[in-house]
Symmetry: C2
Subunit: 383 residues, 2 copies
């Protein structure tokens, strides 16, 4: 399912290929968020044009809207949204804990109220695998609990143990299904939790390796902890994961976070940042971030990023896009979403090249200098 292609000389970075039921994914890869079966403002054809190979969708959201009955009618999420490439779906756990109300966790699963209409629902680990099967997911995630930052160690440990029992149950039901329908069932990854406690992270990895998954995700990061702590946990956890399996850092992150994660040996990333920032008028460029609404761009005839070959940069100026944003015109949001996603995807392409040449350290140093030295975007949470 996963093949390593090249390894960098001085970092732990590697390039590889993941084989899925809907085609190959070259790693390291960035997965844009198609929360409700749509990457906001963009069509599936736009994603293909950008070069995106795999997208992420949210089980919790799709379960509530449009609901499984509708997805079943269309056969799969792929058919529904006309995206025939690979789809990774999350477990819904993070969303149940962050978006829904009146959560009640038991050994059996989690009861919650919809954030949309307050209706009551229940997810067991088995349900969540079943829902992702209905979606036709190529890479599934088991139901997990993500503890808030900061959490007491006792809380983190109790939560982790539940998550690990849920992971086993998920694997069990997935294996049964796999035996029945060998051909088209998606992979099920394991998720490493454990909060900010290294020994808990270590324990989590050892238990998950016992259960044995075709890939491992690191969850519970980018939830408010300091950047250095995140890097420490990442470094520690990635070291423990088997080399021959893909490693996915959930919900991360900024271009610099991703570059760091890759250098530490991670292969897969997802984040709302490129599209959300795009809709907020913040563009990623090779020289850092740029706030397009700034008055200084009103008469600017340059593209968003002179170094970029995306549709937006080939056709439109900063001045015109600023005009669209001052009108609150949707085309502006779309043009920057397109650009930002291209920027992220193109960064992956460049990183792959650097790894293959064994030069990721040099690339990383140069990128950081250019990117950090010039950032023009204000009031953004993360770089």
């Amino acid at each position: 399912m996963f093949k390593i292609i090249a390894k960098d000389k001085t970092t732990k970075a590697r390039t590889g290929k993941i084989q899925t039921a809907h085609g190959e994914v070259n790693t390291p890869c960035f997965m844009p968020c198609a929360t409700y079966g749509v990457v906001r403002t963009l069509s599936s054809e736009d994603l293909k044009d950008i070069g995106i190979e795999i997208i992420l969708s949210n089980t919790y959201h799709l379960y509530l809207r449009p609901g499984l009955e509708i997805i079943k009618t269309f056969g799969s999420l792929h058919n529904f949204m006309n995206w025939q490439g690979p789809i990774l779906t999350d477990s819904g756990g993070f969303q149940v804990f962050s978006m829904s109300s009146l959560r009640k966790i038991t050994e059996e699963g989690v009861e919650f109220q919809s954030h949309i209409d307050g209706s009551r629902h229940f997810f067991s680990p088995e349900d969540v695998v079943g829902i992702q099967r209905t979606l036709g997911s190529d890479i599934m995630m088991p139901l997990d609990e993500c503890v808030e930052y900061p959490s007491e160690k006792d809380r983190a440990k109790t939560s982790l143990e539940l998550t690990l029992r849920w992971a086993e149950r998920s694997k069990l039901v997935h294996s049964k299904e796999f035996i029945v329908r060998r051909q088209d069932i998606g992979m099920l990854f394991g998720i490493v939790q454990g909060g900010t406690y290294l020994d808990l992270r270590k324990y989590a990895v050892s238990k998950l390796l016992e259960t044995d998954f075709p890939g491992y995700a690191i969850g519970g990061l980018s939830v408010g902890e300091p950047g250095e702590l995140m890097l420490e946990i990442l470094n520690f956890t990635l070291e423990l994961l088997p080399e021959d399996k893909p490693r996915y850092i959930m919900g991360v992150g900024s271009p610099l976070d991703i570059l760091n994660g890759i250098a530490l040996g991670a292969d897969m990333f997802d984040c709302v940042m490129p599209t959300r920032n795009g809709r907020n008028g913040c563009a990623f460029t090779s020289e850092g971030k740029l706030t397009i609404r700034n008055a200084q761009y009103a008469k600017n005839k340059s593209p968003v990023d002179a170094d970029c070959d995306c549709f937006t940069c080939k056709n439109y100026t900063r001045g015109y896009i600023r005009h669209l944003f001052s009108l609150d015109e949707m085309l502006g949001l779309r043009l920057l979403s397109l650009h930002n996603l291209y920027f992220y995807n193109n960064l992956m392409v460049k990183i792959k090249g650097a790894i293959e040449r064994g030069e990721l350290s040099e690339f990383k140093k140069r990128f950081e200098e250019e990117y950090e030295g010039n950032s023009k975007c204000k009031n953004q949470i993360s770089k």
Copy 2:
């Protein structure tokens, strides 16, 4: 500037070509509204892909936002919005009278307050030609007053006489400019006003013919008068206009209005309907209009219009687009805007073919039967 290509056998319809500084326009043509230099949700490349040959922009809006200083920096509206095809600009008269506040009309021109920030401005007929020159308009309109429906005859007559004096002044300043810079100056059309009074319409045409314009627009329609009255005025006025000049019905209209207008000898149309309806979830189809939000489409796997070759219909189902609308996701608004504009443009293509074959009456009858017999769209102002 205008060449008739073919005439229909049994109606007054004709096909033709208008030569502009930015290329040829095949008539009859529909011009989508790029009010602020953008057809909402769509890029200029989208318009090209649909087959649009000419767009309309609004002088009043562009004068206020982004303002002429910014357009000057870019050289023209064409450059600013990256649309190198022909652009027709209106005079701003209709918008001053319908959108701005505290209007004060004098012989000299009109003073008004911006609907955006209340700032005070003044447009003379000469200013309005100058503004359209700055925009780089290919077809300009002279400042006019559009009377409300219903209007007393005295009011309509006084207003018309002012509009005609303004038309002469516009022509004068345009001719002077034309002598100075023969090459790249846009055409200036005349506008026939006169409210619902046929003798005033006749008087308007005779005066405008004396001044002599390369094309004539019919204004003051679709402002609330009954459909039959509109057709009567149209029929009457179009009869009076010279055959060898293009005839433009401003702000019209629905597919059936346009079809009627063409049968009466009109060549050019503009309307916000395809894009505005698209954003409201109403799609034009060969079987009438369709409200995509209706629950009945939730599991519908058909395209919006089975007869349509647009991007939306080739790639997405009613069920998916309904899902996007229930999320208030911009992609939905965009997909229906694209489809509706394609529908309008494709209707023009079909009409041209029917005229060339001398079969417009048959085409019109068939279209009306299919379209009117099945309309599924509720609560829409016009068909």
